[in-house]
Amino acid sequence: MLKMLKLATCAVALLVAGTISSANAGDTLTIGLATGQTGGLAPYDGPAIEGFQIAVDEINGAGGIGGNIMIKMISKDTRSDAAQTSIAAQELLEMGIDILVTPSDADPAFAAAALATDAKVPAFSPAASSPTLPLMGGDFMFANFPGDNVQATVSAEWAYGEGFRNAYILYSPDTQYTTLPLYFSDVWKVLGGTVAGEGTYVMGQQDFSAEVTKIKALNPPVDVIMTAAYEPDFPAFIRQLRSAGVTAQVIGSDGIDSPTTFSLGDAGDGVVFSTAGHALPGSALEEFNNKFKATYGRDADTIFAAIGYDLMKVIEAGVLAAGSTDSVAIRDAVANLENVQGVTSVITYKGTTGMPVRQVSLIRVKGGDRELVAQPSPTASLVPAPRMQ
């Protein structure tokens, strides 16, 4: 019994210590990270926070933001779950953080957005691309990635330019992000293409035979298939599609910017997808990738590490522009940032609702490697308005 009492006392002491030690000091920018380090978002949030850490270490190594504001990170795992994100965000906000980093998917990020907006603390999702997130998440919610509607416009314009006319879209209503093909469909119709059919799937369903049969039966055959499916759905889909003999061009989006996509062999070959950047020789991104390898001893084989790095650069620029660590001042400064030089792109928030204007890269999978197709700017009038779907 005495032993249990002692244990309980230690436990309570630990709990209390945890809350007190996190008090905020003068010239420190405290950043709370509530991200999915385990679960379905780990392939995105994991590298993003690794990249973020590189930027933090660089800045702190140089004496902090502007030479005097040191950055402190407090990290919490949200297990890729909305409820857990809400709890982690509440805890971090209560610790008095100045900036909140949310998970990379819009769905759990929504759970944190309302909290951050209530607490008047700017919140950033490293890689959420749903334009509805900053729109409905409140004034303090920012994204850090080309929006779904922008990516869809770039893909559609490219495909139309390639001469494709008859499209099929495959989407899942399970998350905001996986409904990206609906934006593609909008743009495609405006451009003059036809949408021969729409298919839906449940995330994690693995068996796409019904959808593949439907696609194969279409007459005239489709020449382009657009989907925002990602792991583990996309590899399953593309394998089943190709083994059924369908050769149409497949277009994906940033969710498949992962090593798996490049290891699918023949099935993956020729797939084109939109993402946030491409490491051309001599580019800032290539330089970052080298830095990543030097830090972690392995390749940064997705764009999300660089995206995490860029997020810290955006925050740095915001703090510099605000001239303080005051959360509201930082939010206002970020909302007016223009032409921040990141390693993936030049980033502008001014004139947006929180979805940054940044470059979109179209990548082709070729022989297990990346090939840059284009880095076009979308035609502004074609970009569909954000909507919940």
């Binding site: 309980a8 436990a11 630990l14 709990l15 209390v16 210590a17 945890g18 809350t19 030690s21 380090q37 385990t38 407090i74 990290s75 919490k76 795992d77 297990r79 779950d81 909305a82 409820a83 994100t85 809400s86 709890i87 509440q90 805890e91 209560e94 610790m95 769905d107 759990p108 929504f110 759970a111 309302a114 909290l115 409905m136 209503p173 399970d174 998350t175 905001q176 449940v202 995330m203 919940m388």
Partner: protein
């Protein structure tokens, strides 16, 4: 009753203190306590069903989810609903309630759903029921995902006002403790706990096990729905994942580690798991201890909970608090003294009405085996009939058929002139058929008094608990075990356990009492004293007794009439003396050769 009040009162004091302290400190301690209270409500709810029925349920998180989503739709600002749930039917789209109103509606809705589901589940036994609850969880999960217009499918459901604060959570937790404890100590809870310990015996003592299970299932669903409402309004945003396996696992861990049979166990389990989870969750992000930064180890929390379950199960498989409430463990003796009913003259049992039990041509097959073959038997008031026969001759099977534990394959049983052949054991118990079992089947975790009370509460016509209590006293006194009334039944000696079984059957005020080897395992003095008691029971109350025993001297001295079974058939019937000399009987017991020797001895 006094016990329940003191028991819950203790918790309420502790919880209010905790809430006050946390409220003053605020911050993450306060939030941790809110989550703890919500978990506690859920665990208490699950315990109302699983703890009292002994059937583990994986399905309760489904009820929690339904509660969270429905109440969330009801409290969400209408403008928010138009944005995020554009396809809601108009009556929901324009509905707006405060937390209390939404809670009431959600709880009623969930209880109705639980009632429908429960009608199926309450028919199932043990692991079949558990697996079905697992199916329920999966189905509810699927429905929530499928009902996109209401729930946004598997996307985040957000925009729920965050109105669950410490006060609301604490009040609800106190209410949940009161409901759970009072249900457990109520007549319904007692009956269900009896069925948990021994379903067959509970049925034979008149407990309608299905109905009791259904009741606790519906109540527990209601409590869990409250937890769902609160967690939804605490988080403000959640997805269907919140109400699936991970949280089921965490809540079951609380339930099992603490001991699912008691409210104390639920509280202990919820406290322990919450403490460990909160500590590990802070440690896994990396913390500073004496200037040393620990590394980040995400995923530690789940592993930690798993280890606690392993440890708890290895050391104490009934949970930390076994099957006792804290007040029973600490103040048990005190209550025993307080609650002992003083009364030197227990009420006289009215003689049972005249009548008869008549079984005709009962046949029972077990697959291809004919266990009973055209057995006919009559039993009248004030009559003690012995049923004997070699091992495997069908004696116990006959008792099981007559008491409704097993259905007969053919033949009919009449009580007076009513055909009772198709009645279940609990219905027959209501008609005044009481029995004991060959291998003692007491409700092992209940006290002697509670064992007997289960039967007294089911006697027909129904009586108030006060009258039932008097009957318990009468039955205990009749069997001479009043001094053990507060002792846990399973701790008694073998002979006394047999006496408790008989007292329990007596409390049903049976017109016909079946005793299956009541003297087994007793020494000669105990057997003699039991015989005296049985004789006086028969004289005093006038019931008919059918007794199975291997102790032939006992049967011969006690019974006016003896029926002999062999290989499922009646081979002799009559006065003990006559039957004793029947060559067929001797042959059945001793074999052909032995019977010749005995015949020679007898003829000398």
């Amino acid at each position: 009753m006094v016990k329940s009040i003191v028991g819950t009162g203790g918790f309420v004091v502790v919880m209010v203190l905790a809430a006050l302290i946390a409220g003053t400190i605020g911050g993450s301690i306060e939030r941790t306590l809110v989550v703890f209270f919500i978990s506690l409500i859920a665990v208490l709810g699950m315990g109302v069903y699983s703890g009292n029925s002994g059937i583990l349920s994986f399905g309760h998180l489904g009820f929690m989810g339904l509660g969270a989503y429905l109440s969330g739709i009801l409290t969400m600002p209408i403008a928010m609903k138009q944005m995020t749930l554009a396809n809601l039917p108009p009556f929901l789209a324009t509905a707006h309630f405060d937390l209390l109103g939404a809670t009431v509606i959600a709880v009623i809705f969930v209880m109705v759903v639980a009632l429908v589901v429960g009608i199926v589940i309450s028919k199932l036994e043990g692991s079949a029921a558990t697996i079905t609850t697992l199916g329920l969880l999966v189905i509810v999960h699927g429905i929530i995902i499928g009902a996109r217009d209401f729930t946004r499918g598997s996307q985040s459901f957000f925009g729920v006002p965050r109105v669950t604060d410490l006060t609301v959570a604490a009040i609800c937790a106190v209410l949940a403790i009161i409901v759970a404890r009072f249900y457990k100590d109520s007549v319904f809870g007692l009956k269900l706990r009896a069925s948990r310990d021994d379903q067959l015996a509970a049925g034979a003592m008149g407990v309608n096990v299905r109905r009791e299970r259904l009741l606790s299932w519906v109540i527990s669903a209601g409590i869990v729905a409250v937890a769902g409402v609160l967690i939804g309004h605490f988080l403000g945003a959640f997805s269907v994942k919140k109400f699936y396996f991970v949280d089921t696992f965490a809540l079951l861990a609380m339930l099992i580690v603490g001991g699912m049979a008691t409210v104390t166990g639920a509280l202990a389990g919820a406290t322990l798991i919450t403490l460990v989870t909160e500590i590990l969750r802070r440690v896994e992000g990396g913390i500073e201890i004496f200037g040393f930064q620990t590394p980040q180890l995400f995923g530690t929390t789940q592993i930690g909970i798993g280890l606690i379950i392993l440890l708890a199960m290895a050391k104490r498989s009934d949970g930390l608090f076994d099957r006792l409430e804290w007040d029973e463990a600490l103040l048990g003796g005190w209550f025993a003294k307080k609650e002992k009913i003083v009364g030197d003259a227990p009420p006289e049992h009215k003689p049972v009405p005249e009548g008869s039990l008549q079984a005709s041509s009962i046949t029972k097959f077990f697959g291809g085996l004919k266990a009973l073959d055209q057995v006919s038997l009559a039993l009248a008031n004030r009559e003690i009939v012995g049923l004997i026969g070699p091992n495997g001759s069908g004696k116990t099977t006959l008792l099981n058929v007559l008491s409704g534990v097993l259905p007969a394959s053919e033949g009919e049983t009449l009580v007076d002139s009513q055909d009772v052949s198709t009645m279940t054991s609990h219905q027959l118990a209501g008609l005044g058929i009481g029995r004991t079992f060959q291998n003692i089947r007491l409700f092992s975790s209940l006290s002697v008094r509670q064992n007997v009370a289960v039967a007294a509460l089911n006697a027909w016509p129904k009586v108030s608990t006060i009258v039932a209590n008097e009957k318990v006293d009468m039955a205990l006194e009749a069997m001479g075990i009043t001094e053990f009334s507060e002792v846990q039944a399973s701790t008694l000696s073998y002979g006394n356990q047999r006496r408790v079984e008989i007292a329990r059957a007596l409390a049903l005020e049976p017109r016909f009492l079946f005793l299956d080897e009541p003297a087994a395992g007793m020494n000669r003095e105990e057997t003699d004293s039991l015989m005296d008691d049985l004789k006086s029971l028969c004289d005093r109350f006038g019931m008919g007794i059918l007794i199975v025993d291997h102790d032939l001297p006992l049967i011969m001295r006690l019974c006016e009439r003896v029926v002999v079974l062999n290989e499922g058939r009646v081979i002799a019937e009559g006065e003990p003396k006559t039957v004793q000399k029947d060559p067929q009987v001797i042959e059945a017991y001793l074999g052909h050769k032995g019977s010749q020797q005995v015949a020679e001895v007898l003829s000398d």
